[in-house]
């Protein structure tokens, strides 16, 4: 009894040391999260009419400020936030891409020129679908500007996720990123039941995966006695034998992250969420969550678990193969463009995993390049999906895309370029991305994995090209949707997506230089 009292006294007498935080290093994350708080205050205190302009100014200003602060950190490699976070080249590149994608995603979300009754989000998420309330709110032209607060918090979580350097911080980032996204998923203006169902599925399955992650983190902490990645790595290199518990821990952590990536067999939520969520959000999520989650996966596996890569590469080998094949094959059978793109995103995750499996500097660089290329193409794809409409809203059934390329050759051509890029045809960014991860994998000796990847690419090419066939080689019918003319927001996002897709296909060297010079993760 006395001993405890003594210990408490001793602890009390130890002077409490103020943690030193270098705010400059944390600035990108703090700016976004701070803006999120301001955004909530806007909702509380600003009159309804002033909210949208104020929120938009806040969101874009915060994102630009975050981007500037990320650029100003260029070249720095250090721990930050008492070792809970890091600043290093790959992390900064991923953060920078996430912010740029967030800017484009925010533009899609801000679009009000396409739907005659407003934007893509429900007038009041609290009103029951199909109820009198809902009709009233819609008729009065209500909008939810709360989406911007959610959006900023999600972006803040995404910025933390790839630079988190301990298990706890990674978990916090995961949740900060995910919770707003679950909510936003349920807020579609059209087909609200589908949207709410998707949100619930996403939330329940996401909660499961978070639990997996947390359980894995606890086991790993139990095994190594630390939550910090460098300490875990040091502890693992000092231990031999008794790896049963460790392997379970790695498996559980992997499951939690692979869920966010949408890798098979943790992919079941993807098609429903892609289909149900408001399209601009789907576009943003598909692009940005993938970068953030892959960033976290790469860091966890190469920094904390780098010493035991011979244990986890076989696991990722199998998952990569399953992900590529299942994604491509099931995509063949889809008749809804958003579901098709969802399965395509699963297949693409498989291709990126090929770079992760390579477990080398080249693999890291290849995966990052692939992620960037994929993100911009994806934003563009969803911008076009938003624009293709009939009287009931977005026309996502593929039959309504028949002959679209004849009716609107310009938009059709851009969409065809996106499809060719996703299929990995040369002179598009997707080809260079595939090329870089395949090269890294062969250099690491994973030749057979690349051969499987090549077969999967071929299957995937079939469904991408099927869309082109549908748009250009089929006659338009009465069913065929119209391409609505968007406002400047969507136009800019679409133009950015298309430009980057083509530019990275023809002249990828500057970005490759940037990624290669960024080096590897801080350990």
């Amino acid at each position: 009894m006395n001993a405890v009292v003594e210990a408490v006294r001793a602890a009390d007498q130890t002077p409490w040391v103020m943690p030193t935080l270098d705010y400059k290093l944390l600035a990108p994350i703090l700016i976004i999260l701070g803006a999120g708080v301001v955004s909530v205050l806007f909702e509380a205190f600003l009159p309804r009419a002033a909210r949208r302009p104020a929120q938009l100014v806040l969101v874009f200003a915060a994102l630009v400020a975050a981007l500037v602060s990320i650029i100003s950190l260029q070249g720095i490699r250090s721990l930050s936030g008492q070792g809970a976070l890091v600043v290093d080249g790959p992390g900064l590149i991923m953060q920078g891409t996430i912010v740029i994608i967030a800017i484009l995603g925010a533009m899609l979300m801000a679009e009000r020129g396409l739907d005659p009754s407003g934007d893509a989000f429900a007038a009041r998420a609290s009103s029951l679908p199909g109820s009198e309330d809902e009709r009233q709110f819609t008729a009065r032209g209500y909008f939810q500007t709360e989406i911007w607060a959610f959006f900023l918090f999600a972006v803040g979580g995404m910025l933390m996720f790839p630079v988190a350097n301990d298990l706890l911080m990674m978990f916090v980032a995961l949740e900060v990123m995910s919770l707003p996204l679950y909510l936003l998923t349920g807020m579609a203006r059209r087909r609200r039941l589908l949207s709410q169902e998707a949100a619930l599925k996403y939330f329940v399955l996401g909660a499961f995966s978070s639990a997996f992650f947390l359980y894995g983190a606890a086991l790993l902490y139990g095994f190594t006695g630390s939550i910090s990645f460098p300490a875990i790595a040091a502890s693992l290199s000092a231990t031999t034998g008794q790896t049963g518990l460790l392997l379970i821990a790695v498996g559980l952590l992997g499951a939690g992250l692979l869920f966010k990536i949408g890798a098979v067999p943790f992919h079941q939520w993807t098609p429903d969420v892609y289909q149900g969520a408001p399209t601009p959000l789907t576009g943003f999520m598909a692009a940005a969550v993938k970068i953030a989650a892959f960033g976290a996966l790469l860091r966890l596996f190469s920094v904390a678990l780098g010493g035991m890569r011979w244990d986890w590469t076989p696991m990722l080998w199998v998952i990569a193969i399953l992900t590529m094949l299942v994604g491509s094959i099931i995509a063949l059978t889809q008749s809804d463009i958003k579901r098709m793109i969802a399965y395509s995103s699963i297949a693409q995750a498989g291709f990126i995993l090929v770079g992760v499996v390579a477990a080398s500097a080249a693999g890291l660089a290849g995966a990052i390049f692939y992620l960037i290329a994929y993100a911009f193409t994806t934003i563009g794809v969803f911008a076009i999906i938003m624009m293709v409409r009939d009287e009931s809203g977005e026309a996502t059934h593929l039959s309504k895309w028949a002959g679209l390329g004849r009716r609107s050759p310009f938009v059709g051509t851009i969409f065809a370029i996106f499809m060719l890029s996703l299929a990995g045809i040369p002179l598009t960014s997707g080809f260079i991305g595939k090329f870089s991860v395949f090269t890294a994998a062969i250099a690491s000796g994973d030749t057979w994995l690349v051969i499987v990847a090549v077969v999967a690419s071929l299957i995937a090419a079939f469904f991408y090209l099927r869309v082109i066939v549908l748009m250009f080689f089929t006659e338009p019918t009465e069913e065929t949707a119209e391409v609505a003319v968007p406002s400047v927001f969507t136009t800019v996002a679409l133009a950015a997506g298309a430009t980057v897709t083509v530019l990275l296909g023809i002249y990828p060297q500057p970005l490759l230089d940037l990624i290669i010079n960024a080096g590897v993760f801080v350990r």
Binding site: L420, I442, V455, L458, L465, V469, F472, F473, T474, L512
Partner: protein
């Protein structure tokens, strides 16, 4: 050393032309055609200028060399250059494109403007394709070659899919998927080659000149060779990778078919001689018997199927497959005369294919677009000029002495006899079947009583004759005087032969080791 970037300019002109044509107003189809034709003539002029400067007698096989860094991170360079083989094939493309444009002048307005893509689109695609064809034959970097090789699929895909016949969507997809299968395996092999070159030299490269000198160990060679060869065998196409060709040819416009079979498919055989042989000499040697067997089977298979075909376009596709068998045979017998013969055969086949498809296309246009042989008979009475050109095309296809196709076929067979006497003897029999199906087509369609509905068909117009005359003239000229062709091709082939370390066998000795291969056929 020539400092002016001739090849880049040559490739850029049709690309710029393609953009210009695509941007013309839709309401001015005639202007689009005129601009496209003028551009293709400029390209032809530039090609002639390049050919005249080409020095066939220097020791440096590659000329008009350009070299720039492109993606240093992957050792990728933008490097161009032509040897005799590349030059000849670029010239073939430059000759065929204006002919196709002229011959296809009215192709896309019929039968229904509503149903097909815009007129300007078709001509813009042809010009874009010309850029890529020039690029693919001029590239001396494997990565660059691959980019052109794959990018080429896209315009053709649209040309078949948007402007083709009843089965166009199916045919376009089949064409693209077959090509992509090959292309992706080539991609894997190409990456493998890059990694291997990195292991051997310390710095991975795609540059052809550096890759040729590498001593890759034979086991790796065999694997990588397969990736490349597979792509080329589909492209060429060799038996048994040919099934996309009849569908693609059957569903496309005659002009598309000419470009596809006449020029594009040559990329397959070109790739074998430019990439498979010099980079993987040991593997080429290892696989040669199998490939020769495939080639000989293809010669007979294509010819027999052609004998039984009733659809003209499919028939010509099968006959081309038979001819591609000869070309591949010439390449893989590893004799100078055989390989030179193959290159000459590529040119000859391009010309004769153009003549066949275009005259058949003119005939079909005059008769409600039917491509069935059974719908035609006695055409030579109402349309003697058309029948005359058709006879010429047919004779050119069966390699009548005095025409360039005879030179090619004769050289290939001669080269084969030098090395494998039995294979040569068997392949020669293929000529007989060729004669049988070619003459059967002529006899059924052109001679005999005039078929119903054919009495009133018009003979060829001035534009159509203008398109065909250059083909006839070139076939006869090069048939009687092949020296200009052989002078540039032979040194290039000698280089290939020396790189792969093959020597020509003494003329009278038949190699006994491979005769068993021949008797299997």
């Amino acid at each position: 050393m020539n400092s002016f970037p001739w090849l880049t300019v040559l490739g850029a002109v049709p690309l710029v032309g393609s953009v210009v044509v695509a941007l013309l107003p839709k309401s001015r189809p005639l202007l689009a055609k005129q601009v496209a034709f003028a551009i293709s003539i400029i390209v032809l002029g530039l090609t002639i200028a390049i050919a005249l400067q080409f020095n066939g007698s220097t020791s440096e096989p590659f000329q008009f060399v350009e070299y720039h860094q492109w993606i240093p991170a992957f050792g990728v360079t933008y490097s161009l250059g032509v040897d005799g083989i590349g030059l000849v094939l670029i010239a073939l493309a430059a000759v065929i494109v204006p002919i196709t444009i002229l011959a296809g002048w009215n192709d896309v307005e019929e039968p229904n403007v509503e149903q097909v893509g815009s007129v300007k689109g078709y001509f813009a695609l042809i010009l874009a394709l010309e850029t890529l064809m020039i690029g693919v034959f001029a590239a001396t970097d494997v990565f660059l070659f691959y980019v052109f090789f794959e990018a080429m699929l896209i315009p053709v895909y649209f040309m078949i899919g948007r402007y083709g016949g009843a089965q166009r969507s199916y045919a376009a997809m089949k064409f693209l998927l077959y090509s992509l299968v090959g292309g992706l395996f080539m991609l894997a092999a190409m990456i493998g080659l890059f990694v291997v070159s990195g292991q051997l030299t310390g710095r991975g490269t795609f540059n052809w000149f550096e890759l040729v000198g590498l001593n890759i160990d034979p086991t790796t060679q065999k694997l990588l060779f397969l990736g490349f060869f597979f792509a080329f065998a589909i492209k060429a196409p060799l038996w048994p990778f040919h099934t996309w060709l009849p569908d693609a040819a059957g569903a496309s416009k005659p002009g598309t078919a000419v470009l596809l079979i006449g020029v594009l498919d040559k990329v397959g055989t070109f790739g074998m001689i430019r990439y498979c042989l010099p980079i993987f000499p040991a593997a080429s040697d290892f696989y040669a018997p199998i490939i020769i067997a495939m080639a000989v089977i293809g010669i007979f298979y294509g010819a027999f199927v052609a004998l039984g075909q009733n659809d003209l376009k499919r028939l010509f596709a099968y006959s081309s497959m038979s001819h591609f068998g000869f070309i591949a045979l010439g390449i893989f017998v590893f004799t100078t005369i055989g390989q030179s013969g193959s290159v000459v055969y590529m040119v000859a086949h391009g010309l004769s294919t153009a003549a066949l498809f275009l005259t058949a296309g003119f005939l079909m246009q005059r008769s409600r677009g039917s491509s069935l042989l059974s719908d035609y008979s006695g055409v030579n009475k109402p349309a003697p000029v058309l029948a005359g050109f058709f006879l010429f095309a047919a004779l050119s296809s069966l390699a009548l002495p005095g025409l360039v196709s005879f030179v090619g076929e004769f050289m290939v067979l001669l080269g084969t006899f030098q090395r494998y006497i039995w294979v040569g003897a068997i392949a020669t029999l293929g000529i007989v079947i060729t004669a049988a199906y070619v003459l059967r087509v002529y006899q059924k369609s052109m001679t005999g009583p005039v078929g119903s509905g054919l009495e009133t068909i018009k003979d060829l117009r001035g534009r159509e004759i203008t398109a065909l005359v250059p083909i006839v003239a070139l076939s006869i000229f090069l048939g009687l005087y092949p020296a200009p062709l052989l002078n540039v091709v032979n040194p290039a082939v000698d280089t290939v032969m020396s790189v792969i370390g093959a020597t020509n066998p003494a003329p009278t000795v038949g190699s006994s080791s491979i005769t068993s291969e021949g008797t299997q056929q």
